[in-house]
Amino acid sequence: MWRDAALVAGRDLRVELRSRVTVNQVAPFALLVLVLFAFALDPDRQLLERVASGLFWTAVLFSALLAIARSAAIDETDGVRDALRLSGLDPAGVFVGKAAAVAAELLVLEVLLGVGVVVLYGADPTGVGLLVLASVAATAAVAATGTLYGALVSGLRVRETLLPLVLLPVLAPVLIGATRAWEAALAGAPADGWPWCGLLAAFAVLYSVAGALAYGTLLEGS
């Protein structure tokens, strides 16, 4: 299964590198979201610093919607679905591969956004260990959940509007957890943040398993 996963991940990332959509469109979009928040909230340095974690993760979530939609779209072109089914690749491997690709893209995005938040909102990057681990766990959670839900709505004409509706409520706990963990880290009190990190990790595991199990059914079903 891991070989299949690596295969699919490689393919997805190569598609992404060739089209450069993440670099050219999603990243600027994410930064734009950060800027727009500043407009909305009035750049009072104090306020922005306090809400930096929340705004960061909100921007990540919105960007993730785009990344996941793109990931699902790769398999929607004519015949790719059938090719996947007939190829004998383990569906769980396909799932893991796709999720890994999305996760990789999101992590790159998060580094970029992290810099953005430090620069634009004056956040103070202490507690790096917690920051990094929480981000990894949250990203895994978002990628796994998103890949599964992306498959649920893939191929549909209403996909663009349906994906946010089904995915965002499910990811609310991830938003809560990641923001609290980051807040704890940035405030210099990482002890408060580790439990949230645990929640994120558990969430990631839950959805990785669920996705791996369900992907086969979904691939066949359509």
């Binding site: 649920l152 709505v153 191929g155 549909l156 004409r157 209403v158 349906l162 509706l165 089904v166 965002l168 409520p169 499910v170 609310a172 706990p173 809560i176 957890g177 609290r180 929640l199 969430f203 839950l206 669920a210 369900a214 059914t217 979904l218 079903g221 359509s222």
Partner: protein, 290 residues
């Protein structure tokens, strides 16, 4: 006060029971003796609820009469969760058995749960206003319920897709199966989150319930439960009819295509085009058992 309609008694379906003539009438609705009985009981218990809830039970010491909202709010929240549970179980059963009855049940239960979530949120919000001054407090229960409503809305939206019915049911079933786990995760994290802010304990002052207030609450559970059950049976039947109706449409379309194809054969064209394309096994051969 009670706006629930008399269940099926006003329908033209009654003749199916009364007519003893040679040609029995076809009931033109989703009613039956069972639902009529259920409906009568639901109405009766609702009347009882109105009496107990609005008249016979006392006002609370702190909240005064706004506590009467609790008799609707708490049961409706409970049955909201019951509905979600039914949807998840039915979704799982559909994935195992693949009989249409389970799919119908999953969808019906979710829709009713959405209605109950609206009631829970509405009564919760209106209860909050006189008690704590605002229509919306970000307390754990209301917030979780709001997210739950969103989850249900997403699920119901997914069910309306215009894809091949088998694929639609499969996708919906996977989503439905995840409903209860999602609810659990969301509830836990929202609770934990709000507990970080001390105001959550101050804000949710559950009234001490005793005597007639307790009776009113129990009657509330009874009445809402019967209403839920009545709605579920009818909505399930509607879903069943929708499934049958879709099948009929499919059969009609297939038959039309077949005659078309035969017509072409008659005209000397080659072998008839594949008449079985695009119907991944949903032609009327699926079992009618649930």
């Amino acid at each position: 006060m009670t706006a629930t309609t008399s269940p099926g008694t006003s329908s033209p379906g009654a003749p199916s029971v009364a007519a003893a003539g040679p040609a029995p009438e076809v009931p033109a609705n989703t009613g039956s003796t069972a639902t009529r009985a259920l409906g009568v009981l639901a109405l009766a218990s609702t009347v009882l609820l109105v009496l107990y809830g609005l008249v016979w039970s006392p006002a609370d010491v702190e909240m005064e009469d706004s506590v009467r909202l609790m008799y609707v709010h708490v049961p409706s929240a409970t049955y909201l969760y019951v509905g979600c549970f039914i949807t998840t179980v039915a979704s799982g059963m559909w994935l195992r058995k693949r009989t249409p009855g389970w799919d119908a049940l999953a969808g019906a239960s979710a829709e009713i749960a959405l209605v109950f979530s609206a009631i829970t949120l509405g009564t919760g919000s209106l209860w909050g206003r006189p008690t704590w001054g605002t229509y919306w407090t970000w307390d754990a229960r209301l917030t979780s319920t709001a997210l739950l409503a969103a989850l249900l809305a997403g699920y119901l939206a997914l069910r309306r897709l215009d894809v091949d019915p088998d694929a639609r049911s499969t996708r919906a079933a996977v989503l439905g199966l995840l409903l209860v786990p999602n609810v659990i995760v969301v509830n836990r994290s929202v609770e934990w989150w709000r507990s970080l802010h001390q105001d959550s304990t101050l804000v949710k002052l559950d009234p001490t319930i005793e005597g007639d207030m307790l009776v009113a609450l129990m009657v509330g559970f009874l009445a809402m439960g019967l209403i839920f059950a009545w709605l579920l049976v009818h909505r399930f039947r509607v879903a069943w009819l929708e499934y049958q109706s879709e099948r009929i449409d499919l059969d009609v379309a297939l038959a039309a295509r077949r005659t078309e194809a035969l017509g072409e054969v008659g005209a000397g064209a080659g072998p008839p085009p594949g008449t079985m394309t695009g119907t991944s096994g949903t032609t009327g051969t699926t079992g009618v058992t649930a």
